[in-house]
Subunit: 335 residues, 2 copies
């Protein structure tokens, strides 16, 4: 017996009158064990309340059955929705998740990825607003598989799952264009937000195709939070825009309420389409018309891809684009 109460595979072996190898076999479901000894071992395991030590297992087998998930902000409904999908599939494939908050900070991002590596995670799901060169090089000099979720890689190096943000945005703008000429593009900080930039391209393309002039004065860059959207209302009003495509739901909710408090009624005087398709868009009054995107699936499928890579299975597609749409609610007018 040990000095403390931790019971090891060795205790079980001795108690069951077999070798630790055999115990290991039954624990791991190896077929090469006589039914009788399996029973006996199982009985001892139960009696001693033996629980395999996953750390020792990880060291010996070089597989930890845990994956790292890098998330910029857990309280962001968009990322939380993806995380839910990731988690469900991870559980399905018996992986645990170590959550690494990057706080939208480039340096911290590198730091957490490194501790993830040191923890010997079997794979990583990465969510972020962009891919720095630094993080890219961290990924490439490691053999640990990485899949991007809701994060596009403009260099097409890493496997990823996204929707076509450019066309989704263009579709939304086109919808607005039916009844508006001056359409604002409202987003968070674009400097290091790849998705945001791609959306801006979609915005421009839609305008161009409709023969509407693009004006920088109609691009409003701020932060992603509710209060930022609220504060933006005033500027939107003086811009004479009559509609806006907004790249985040909290931001859109803030803008909506801010507009209302400036006496602008949505959708009569001003139309809004938001982009995240999170629950928030349903809570506001009027409820927000939004680009439709399968948040849960974005996460779920990225995790599924990761399991395939970890298990050395063939990947049909390295860059998955999920379908998008438009959910019309009350912040846009009919026809």
């Amino acid at each position: 017996m040990n000095t403390d109460d931790t019971v090891t595979i060795y205790d079980v072996a001795r108690e069951a009158g077999v070798s630790m190898a055999t115990v290991s076999r039954v624990v791991n479901g190896n077929k090469n064990v006589k039914e009788n000894t399996r029973k006996k071992v199982l009985e001892v395991i139960d009696r001693l309340d033996y629980r395999p030590n996953a750390v020792a297992r990880g060291l010996a087998s070089k597989r930890t059955t845990t994956v790292g998930v890098v998330i910029p902000d857990i309280t962001n409904t968009y990322f939380a929705a993806l995380a839910k999908g990731i988690d469900d599939i991870a559980e399905m494939y018996k992986y645990n998740i170590v959550l690494a908050n990057s706080d939208e900070d480039d340096e911290k991002e590198v730091a957490v990825v490194n501790t993830l590596f040191s923890k010997q995670v079997d794979g990583i799901i990465f969510m972020g607003y962009h891919l720095t060169e630094k993080i890219r090089s961290e990924f490439s000099r490691s053999r640990t598989p990485v899949v991007l979720a809701g994060t596009v890689d403009v260099e097409h190096q890493l496997p990823s799952v996204n929707i076509d943000y450019k066309n989704a945005t263009a579709d939304a703008v086109r919808h607005l264009l039916k009844r508006n000429k001056k359409i604002a593009f409202v987003s968070g900080p674009l400097v290091d937000d790849i998705n945001g930039k791609i959306r801006l391209v979609g915005y421009k393309e839609a305008l161009k195709a409709a023969g509407v002039n693009y004006s920088e004065g109609l691009v409003f860059e701020s932060k992603y939070r509710y209060d930022d959207g609220y504060a933006l209302a005033e500027r939107l009003v003086s811009s004479k825009a009559t509609a806006a495509i907004v790249t985040g739901d909290e931001l859109a909710a803030g803008l909506l309420n801010g507009l209302a408090d400036h006496g602008v009624s949505v959708p009569e005087d001003f139309e809004i389409i938001t982009s995240d398709d999170s629950q928030i868009a349903r809570f506001t009054r009027p409820s927000l018309t939004t680009i439709a995107q399968p948040l849960y699936d974005l996460g779920a499928i990225s995790m599924r891809m990761l399991t395939k890579i970890m298990h050395k299975e063939e990947l049909e597609e390295r860059e998955v684009l999920l379908p998008h749409g438009l959910t019309e609610r009350k912040s846009t007018r009919k026809k």
Copy 2:
């Protein structure tokens, strides 16, 4: 050299002309190393790009520097807000977090806690709607420290961080009582929601103190989601209640919008106070008056307590109650 490219502490030792013990010492910041050798080792570590294997470290030291966090639903803004606080403090103390989703399911809860144990986490933060006997026994037969966050232990066995839900609710009801006689209590499923039950007690006490009769007909039990709240509106209308204390923000938002769609105006015809103090309460129109509670701190302080226990420091208090209040917004009338 190894066959594959993983560089170990042994490689560094050989390359630097010292023993692995010395390398271990510099990696762990042990003072007993001559400045010169430290420099040399550090140089080699850098050159070889050596990264300590946390799994091996964990096995040898019996400390993994990771804590498990059990969360019923990551997309729930309430829990996500706590998780943020937990995560920030964990990072501050150099702990990583393995997130375990319990899905509000008793069996799954036990399962995830067990895999957390098998992963040798140094501690656990537990969030849930209640504490089953099963989970309680899992916790007590393990030496791994556990702290409850936003989860009360009616048996006062486990350390916890909460607000005084009973009095917070009573305060809110008292506020409603100034202008209403028929006040509804709207909650999620009470069967296994300890906090909900405690809130109900607060509701009853406030009524009693005001000499208002308690009526079961004014207690509305449903689920916690937006749609459930929305659906409840009709029943609330026919109950003749003129106000409601609601135990969840999504639920309250649904109720609010449902009421509006039934031609009931809030706060003129009906007053609502919600309980979570999450962002959601600010997004709705009218915005929701809510019990004020320090969500982030609830998580942060529970994690701080856990670090103290893990480091064998003294705990001043085993059951922390954080202050609560009332944030008046637009779903209640003035005076």
